[in-house]
């Protein structure tokens, strides 16, 4: 239990969903432990650089959103820690991410720059410099696809000031993909038949990293068996699956492979037009 050197009930009432983390910790430094104990994602505020960068921009409600926890529960925990309060006060929810139906069509055909910050964040390495370097290198039509283990809410404001809109997709509780892009208004170039490196609406994702051969191939082929014409499967692999390709050819699938970064290869697979679904 955190001991707070303050007059709990009196000051607890000041904590709301709109309170920024900077304001919260300035008033109650001991609440850092509460945040860290509440959810591992919130432990990132212990990092001084991240604290300086994010805390003034992130509210309690947004922090709850980053950790995918109900804002009310976080508020209640913070208020209990300062010695007062039951929940029931304002619980403004963090902005909900975009529904997971893929990026808007306006992004189709644009060049994509991928940046996976998950491993850096898990290892405690600050990814902000890498992200900003990637943003700096973006051309007008380019799209930055950022992967993070939580919703990177502070970046929305930072990159928004640079004219970048965003589209967010939650792929798993600890896997978020955000497309940062400039709105051009012309819809971008139409994708060709074999160039949709971003999965279309309804595509499912299969991550086979960390599996010993031939399990990745088994998992993919098992999933493809039920794939209907028009559906797509995005496979995330550690390397080019050279033994999978002949099987895909033989079964009438078309595929595109793209290196998305070190140790990460994405294969977008779909059933070829006119190719029947194999059964039995």
């Amino acid at each position: 239990m955190v001991r707070c050197n303050c007059h709990g009930a009196e000051r607890a009432g000041m904590i709301s969903g709109d309170t920024t983390i900077a304001e919260l910790l300035a008033a109650h430094p001991a609440l850092m432990d509460v945040l860290a104990d509440f959810h591992p994602h919130l432990a990132q505020f212990r990092n001084r650089a991240r604290l300086l960068m994010m805390a003034p921009r992130v509210s309690v409600a947004q922090a709850a959103g980053m950790a995918s926890v109900p804002p009310g529960e976080l508020l209640a925990a913070l208020r209990r820690a300062v010695g007062a309060g039951t929940p029931g006060l304002e619980e403004r929810a963090a902005p909900a991410p975009s529904p997971a139906v893929g990026p808007p069509p306006v992004l189709a055909g644009r060049r994509t720059v991928h940046l996976d910050a998950r491993e850096d964040i898990r290892r405690g390495v600050e990814p902000f410099a890498r992200i900003m370097a990637a943003v700096k290198g973006l051309q007008e039509e380019d799209v930055l696809v950022l992967r993070a283990p939580f919703e990177p809410i502070p970046l929305y404001e930072v990159l928004g000031r640079r004219g970048l809109a965003h589209w967010t997709e939650r792929r798993a509780p600890d896997d978020w993909a955000v497309w940062f892009y400039r709105e051009t208004g012309d819809g971008g170039a139409a994708p060709t038949d074999l160039e949709p490196a971003t999965p279309a609406s309804g595509a499912s994702v299969l991550d086979v990293r960390g599996l010993e051969p031939p399990l990745p191939m088994v998992r993919v082929l098992e999933r493809l068996d039920g794939l209907e014409p028009g559906q797509e499967l995005l496979v995330i692999h550690e390397r080019r699956p050279v033994f999978l390709y002949p099987q895909l050819d033989e079964r009438g699938f078309v595929y595109e492979t793209r290196e998305a970064g070190p140790g990460r290869v994405e294969i977008l697979i779909r059933r070829d037009r006119g190719s029947p679904v194999a059964r039995g």
């Binding site: 010993e212 051969p213 080019r240 099987q247 595109e256 492979t257 140790g263 190719s275 029947p276 194999a278």
Partner: protein, 432 residues
Amino acid sequence: MSRALAGRAPSAPTLPLTYLVTAAAAFVVAALAVPWLGTELAGHYYHPRLLALAHTATLGWVTLTIMGASYQLIPIVLEREVWSERLARWQLAFLVAGIVGMVGHFAIGRWSGLVWGAGLVALGIGLHLVNVALTVRGLGRWTFTARLVALALVGLALTALFGLALGIDKLWKFLPGALFANLHAHIHLALLGWVLPMVIGVAARVYPMFLLAREPDGWVGHAQFWGLALGVPLLVAGLLIERTAPAVAGALLVTAAVAGHLAWVGEMVWRRKRPSLDWGLRFVLTGATFLPAAAGLGLGFAADLWSGPRLGLGYAILALGGWVSLTIVGMMLKIVPFLVWYRAYGPHVGRRPVPTLAELGWPAGEGAAYVLLTTGLAALAIGTISGRASAITGAGLLVAAGALAFGLVLIRVLGHLRSLAHTAPAPQARAS
């Protein structure tokens, strides 16, 4: 969107399988010969039958395995399609004919026939080099593995030419220098210039795949590459001119490369996500434990701290038997079942139940092979150093039994290919 690279198809599984099965047969033959050569192994290594044994192991077992594995692994580790499978099959035919000729003529001490055999082997190696060179032509990304493979192929070319020259020198004396200086240089060129960089290079890419560990990188990789690229020429030159200083400098650089490799292997084992090790990985990792002893003995030889044929034989057995052979046996226990599984069951995955890869294995047989080969090879090294023929014969029996167990494991795995003949064709998804 970034444009995708086209997918690359691997070689037909039968190509690497043919190489690997031939190599395994050579290993069993060599292992069965060891108990019969107890007396010879207790003496000097420059003996016709021991030269026959050594070339059965180095060419028939080690070189054919590496070439066969290359035809499976090149598409994976270098992401390139093999230039010509047909050429690779011709290459195998030349190599097998040449190796049989060489080994036979070594055993009976007939040098004219030996040169013909060596010529065929050199031709087979030449075809391999052409095939691989055309495969990697235009390779844009020279990774650690790609650079080590290139280094190994240079070592292979030089070893083959040097070996052919040694054979011709038996008929028409033309090579300068002492016989044993040339012989030691040839042996070290083969072991450190061809086998070591190939194993180190492939291990960096393949071990993580099986250990489920992150691929190693960083300055240790540079130490390994430059340790071999500079160390092997220095060492070989030192052996040829019989000067201690370059030999020691080269040996130190090679030892640094070996230390870097072991550090990487240790890191991968330590950080692996795979909870338990199968017999294949146990073989590989046990093989690596023979390396420090072999490297230490080699360093001592280079520095003239010790010498003698018995210690030389012990050194060769630690390196070639302990490290190389155990590593190759381990890799074969991973590669052969995969190739067989892929050929027999790959087309049926997702369409009907197929056995898992583990179900193709025979853990009891693999375990028996592990115990017999590891203890047998360690005992053989000690036996040859002690010079006791009875100890060598006893250790040789263990090695032979281990090789037979290994052979039975492979035969059992290969038996799954028969299921191809008894299985109805898989449903074809593609509209015809």
